[in-house]
Symmetry: C2
Subunit: 382 residues, 2 copies
Amino acid sequence: MGSPRARSKAENVRRRPRTATETPRPATIRDVAALCGLSIATVTRVFQGSQSVRAETRARVLESADRLGYRPNSIARALSTGTSNTIGVLIRSLVDPYWAEIANAIERRAGERGCSVLLASSQGRPDLEREKLQTFFDNRVDGVIVGGVSGEPNRWPHAGRHIPTVMLLWDSTPQPELLEELSSGPLSPRLRMLPQETLPGEWLAHVSTDDAAGGTLIARHLLDLGHRRFAFLVPPPVRSHLLRLLGMRMTLEEAGVSFGAVLPTADTFESGRAAATQLLCGNSPPTALVCTTDVIAVGAISAAHELGVKVPADVSIAGYDDIDLASYVDPPLTTLRNPMRQLGETALDLLLSGRAGETGAISHRLTGMLMARGSTGAAPIR
Amino acid sequence: MGSPRARSKAENVRRRPRTATETPRPATIRDVAALCGLSIATVTRVFQGSQSVRAETRARVLESADRLGYRPNSIARALSTGTSNTIGVLIRSLVDPYWAEIANAIERRAGERGCSVLLASSQGRPDLEREKLQTFFDNRVDGVIVGGVSGEPNRWPHAGRHIPTVMLLWDSTPQPELLEELSSGPLSPRLRMLPQETLPGEWLAHVSTDDAAGGTLIARHLLDLGHRRFAFLVPPPVRSHLLRLLGMRMTLEEAGVSFGAVLPTADTFESGRAAATQLLCGNSPPTALVCTTDVIAVGAISAAHELGVKVPADVSIAGYDDIDLASYVDPPLTTLRNPMRQLGETALDLLLSGRAGETGAISHRLTGMLMARGSTGAAPIR
DNA sequence: GCTTCAAATGTAACCGGTACCATACACGCT
DNA sequence: AGCGTGTATGGTACCGGTTACATTTGAAGC
């Protein structure tokens, strides 16, 4: 036992000596080996939980490590093993409470699974997206979750490399022509197939919400309350909004109820208010006013108040998203809440499951929950 | 030129050969060197912008690198240089819009400064705090920003190591005895010195808000409106709330106005409502009701509505924080908005300035902005 | 032509781990 | 005694960069 000990000490000394006055640098595996008179191989075995280490040896190593405050250097480990135990999360916005909740779920779950999170926000700028993704790859992340991006995945620095990637809540750019189709006339086959449409980046795993199902939940709720005259306020029709409308339209169709007017608006309080005013002042106003966004719905409620139209006695108003504000307005808004936390957790689990690296596209679609509140009620008797 | 080229190629071959069928692994510096027939040292020089490379050589290297899609491996670089270009950001919550905005500012600024962000949330749990910080250090971050933590900095894995750290918005645990002192009787020297009190972790750089100044702004605003009878609703008195009150009290004192009643409440809508009800029903109700939290203030407004007390005609109500809700309630709430973005940016700049590593405590204190809105108005004429 | 010096380039030892292979030794079997 | 077999440990070549130092090259100066 004497000779190897001497040798391993010699090996340690070979490294560049540091003077005593330097900043105390963190202990390395060699420091530990030197202190307990064992080889670095044994130390690394102990820290990897290898079975083939005598209990007594293990104790000796741990004691030395403890004394030096040794902790394995993740950087060195990453370089050596090729896996960094770090994932990259790129999301559109950190400030939007929607995304904040998702980011939180991801981070939390990642922590539980023992992996760190490099976080970046893309602010909807494709150039930043590419840049941040590149940084992730330079840092050799084990995988990437990309949430709510706008860029074209085929032009990401990904291309060609096999880096596990989960695309979270992808959405299209506005497609006004589809909204047009959807609003009037029979449903074209193309629209009927919209939910099954292949998403861009088909080689990636996808986690998304089932917006058509959400639309169905809202429509059914209002049908159950006896409503037969509907109208819809819709912001620039990105894919998810088209799907919400589609779900509603198909549900109404099944029930033999005609679809009603579809009014394009911007996604702001003021436009919602304006559009709703116009609608409620028209002849034969709807009894159910569905907005595909809470912000618009809140504007609509405000318009109703102003016109002296009672909510929900005269008109029921529903939103979509369940933003904070939804439960504070008067009356509190009936809306559809997506399972943010679950979205984040699903994305992370999918990423770490290893199935996100395969070529076959995996897709998870999560359904939201109807939050029935005071802004919807029984349809007025004519 | 022939001989060194051959040699450098030989050096490259020394590495473990990969079979052609393997996953295409990212190109390394050696691949680039081999392709352009130069040494790895030259390649690294090019990528570090070293001056002593002939323009022609540089072009040759860049061309090869480009062809191979080479990018320097940050992990290897970090191991070699000892700096990772990554900072750790540990904040209390990602979901709280307050912190979300701060986190966003930090991330954005960090991106501009070319450094990545490892983000973790502590959820107010000291055990998680320690754990996540440890992870940061294991990953050899260049520095750490710790926001809104509850743990004792002396027990962080920091201790002894010199890792640049900025403490952002530290707050104490509730100190009811100080609130007691503050509410009645003359101001003790201890209270007067509260703003200058040394914060824990005195070896760390601090970025905080000037809560006393914020309190002053609100008090002054109300004094200017002619108010002379005040009352205060206060949640469990952590340091920042004590300071808000202190600022107000000192301002009133200067103006020769007596301080008024201080009611402890919980930081919820319901308790605010209850406490306000009690206050407004008492004899000699205040004309100015100041809450050190918006949530409480919104509850107070609701109480006033219910009692038929007009806001601001009969009573002015002010909050603190400027949460989203504040501008949506009716009337919109006068409150104090802290410069979230600036807080985040200041913390990051301070961290990267290198001054956060010194022993001398650096402290930045940022002042908020009064958001005068509809909930405050001229004092009623007696 | 030869020395001198600076600029350009090459060599190899790091950084701190991991993992493959070698070695040493104890034990049980023929 | 000789020979595997297995277990515990040591030695060392990696991972992909950086950097101190060595070497080569070319031009100027004599």
